[in-house]
């Protein structure tokens, strides 16, 4: 009888313990078991170089089969206008044709600038954490991707992204977002948006490279990331970012 109760007790401790153990064996741990990757991709953005031409947005939509309507985009450019009375007006330059005048006249304007936005390829990505089926994942080279064959279209990742970088692809009915043009960068090419930028406001590169434009960008600039308080650890870095940018 005593032996029986001993086994009962041991089993009741071992079973939940085992389940907990399985739960905490996270996906990242398994990724680290694989061979060490050579790359760790990131992007640097120099907002003062951006002229708001929107060619990056167009190039991205062409390259990645993004619907050509203003509600779905993998990258976009915001125009900030800070007025003398402290008001901040933000516009998406894609839609500026409708609302050119919103920025006000030159006279009440204090400063104005453009900010290109895209998926921040977070190192601690909330979208990957919440995906119920693991369709959104982080590759060994640091890029967050969506497996469209596995995504069930629950949209939890869209809710979890603090940057509004995700949308539900209207035809595929799966989550979609910037991939850093993964099909290009794995062949040694640049992402489409970086390639077409006429002022080199976007700098793409490998954080692990000893000498690269991205390394130089990091050395020469004061670096900031978007919403650092959320601890998402973005891999899209901004040089001299204005405090008004959200």
């Amino acid at each position: 009888m005593e032996r029986r109760t001993f086994f009962q007790k041991a089993f009741s401790i071992a079973l939940p313990g085992g389940i907990l153990g399985l739960m905490f064996r996270s996906r990242t741990a398994r990724a680290e078991e694989r061979e060490a990757p050579t790359h760790y991709f990131g992007m640097g953005i120099q907002t003062e170089k951006c002229i708001g031409c929107g060619r990056c947005v167009e190039a991205c939509k062409d390259e990645n089969d993004v619907p050509k309507v203003p509600f779905f985009t993998r990258t976009w450019v915001e125009r900030y206008t800070i007025k003398k009375d402290g008001d901040v007006v933000i516009q998406n330059i894609d839609r500026m044709s409708d609302s050119q005048s919103e920025g006000g006249t030159d006279r009440d304007m204090l400063r104005s600038f453009f900010v290109p936005k895209l998926c921040n390829q977070c190192d601690n990505p909330p979208c990957v954490q919440v995906c119920p089926v693991g369709a959104t994942f982080k590759t060994v080279d640091g890029v967050v991707l969506v497996d469209e064959k596995r995504c069930i279209g629950c949209r939890y990742c869209i809710q979890a992204c603090p940057y509004g970088a995700r949308y539900l692809h209207p035809e595929k009915q799966t989550a979609d977002k910037c991939t850093f043009c993964y099909h290009r960068i794995t062949k040694g090419l640049l992402p489409a948006c970086v390639e077409v930028c006429p002022t080199q406001a976007r700098i793409f590169g490998d954080f692990r490279a000893i000498a690269s434009p991205l390394t130089r960008f990091k050395r020469m600039n004061k670096i900031h990331v978007l919403k650092p308080h959320l601890n998402t650890e973005p891999k899209v870095l901004y040089a001299d970012l204005d405090g008004e940018v959200r």
């Binding site: 399985l22 739960m23 996270s26 996906r27 619907p67 309507v69 203003p70 509600f71 779905f72 985009t73 976009w76 915001e78 901040v88 007006v89 933000i90 516009q91 998406n92 894609d94 839609r95 936005k117 909330p126 990957v128 954490q129 919440v130 995906c131 119920p132 089926v133 693991g134 596995r150 995504c151 069930i152 279209g153 629950c154 949209r155 939890y156 869209i158 809710q159 979890a160 992204c161 603090p162 940057y163 509004g164 970088a165 995700r166 949308y167 539900l168 209207p170 595929k172 009915q173 799966t174 959320l230 959200r246």
Partner: protein, 405 residues
């Protein structure tokens, strides 16, 4: 552009106030995701009312014990439907069971749901009804006999020992059931409360607020059902039972209200970056659904009525009327609560610089009509369940006879 979705979004674009990120125009979690937490809340609430009888020995509500259990089951069976219909790829939904990502609160759905359905509700109902099923099957002929035999899983033992075992099991399951009911609705709250990107949702209080509003809505629902079904059966409403349920409801509403008030004051006092856009949203987009329906009509008015019933000795007929009106108002209020959480959380931009709009479809898959069907369906299921498993007409003579034998 002939795509109806695009047309709808172009229409919404005109209603955007301030600045929102371009991908934020579409409200991703629509009315169906409002219906889901509303249904699970009713499940958890109805079960907790049932467990008052078994665990806390509240004899007055014994007569609604079975009704509460069956209500919980009927609503639980329908609860996953709105989620399933809302998926972009419902045909892949099984992935959530087969290939869950353990860091996702949503992936836990499969486990929590299966646990609650299989281990808690079905088992408790089976052990509760087993003896009656056997007795009914012995009396009956034809189809119903076989249905009852099948539901009893062909068990035929109603000896003293077996019945005692049933009783012990019911009590045990209820004890597991209470934390499970808490888990069921607490986890739904956690799905929202753990989204750090969204200040309207991100709150440690969220699961607790969800839980208490669930208890409120569940008790209110069973009161409605009791008050409607009893006269339909030609029986008299047991005022002791009704008063007891109403008094539990009263305390639950007070706790729920206090928690929501605490959440409100906390946000206002902390006055974080999001406070400006959230106040604009509450005063513009959510004024009717939050201030008028959820707080005034759904909470303060029923509370005032219940206080009145307690202070003045209101006579029976008026009391019934007041109870009925207040539980209907409470249902409306709790539905508005779910609406304000789910839709409200998507009305403001994560840039905190603007508001988007939501226009509910009428006919589409994510529209009003489908939602209404999903809200009515649990009552149909309940009617069928009550037909197979009557919650009242237990053959008392038979039981007494068997016990004597």
């Amino acid at each position: 552009m002939n795509n109806p979705l695009f047309e709808r979004l172009y229409d919404l674009l005109k209603q955007v106030q301030g600045y929102i990120y371009p991908n934020e125009i579409e409200v991703h979690w629509s009315i169906l995701v409002v219906v889901y937490p509303y249904l699970t809340g009713l499940v958890a609430g109805a079960f907790i009312l049932a467990s008052l009888v078994k665990v806390f020995n509240v004899k007055e509500v014994q007569s609604v014990y079975r009704l509460s259990l069956l209500t919980a089951l009927a609503f639980l069976l329908i609860a996953p439907l709105p989620l399933l219909l809302h998926l972009g790829h419902p045909e892949r939904s099984y992935e959530i069971f087969l290939n869950p990502n353990f860091t996702s609160a949503m992936a836990m759905f499969g486990f929590v749901y299966a646990w609650y359905l299989m281990v808690v509700l079905l088992l408790e109902i089976w052990f509760t009804y087993r003896k009656d099923l056997i007795l009914w099957a012995r009396e009956e002929k034809g189809g119903m006999k076989w249905i009852h035999r099948l539901v009893a899983l062909f068990s035929n033992d109603i000896s003293e020992k077996a019945l005692n075992f049933d009783k012990k099991m019911v009590k045990g399951i209820t004890i597991i059931g209470i934390p499970s009911a808490f888990l069921l609705h607490g986890y739904v709250g956690f799905i929202f409360g753990s989204v750090k990107a969204n200040p309207w949702w991100s709150s440690v209080l969220m699961p607790i607020v969800f839980l208490f509003s669930a208890i409120v809505s569940g008790i209110a629902l069973v009161i409605v059902l009791y008050m409607v079904i009893t006269p339909m059966r030609g029986q008299k409403i047991d005022m002791k039972c009704l008063d007891t349920m109403a008094s539990f409801l009263f305390y639950a509403v007070i706790v729920d209200f206090s928690l929501e008030l605490l959440d409100f004051i906390h946000r206002l006092y902390q006055s974080e970056e999001s406070i400006k856009i959230l106040s604009t949203m509450v005063m513009n987009k959510l004024f009717i659904s939050l201030v008028i329906i959820q707080v005034l009509l759904g909470m303060l008015l029923p509370l005032a009525m219940m206080v009145m019933i307690r202070l003045l000795k209101v006579e029976e007929e008026l009391r019934k009327l007041l109870y009925f009106v207040s539980v209907i108002l409470i249902q409306l209020g709790i539905f508005a609560t779910r609406w304000n959480v789910v839709i409200g959380g998507q009305m403001f931009s994560k840039s905190f610089k603007g508001l988007t709009a939501y226009k509910m479809e009428i006919t589409g898959l994510e529209g009003l009509l489908v939602s209404l069907v999903l809200l009515i369906l649990p009552f149909v299921v309940l009617a069928i369940l009550l037909k197979i498993l009557p919650a009242w007409d237990v053959p008392k003579k038979e039981i007494a006879g068997e016990a004597a034998a």
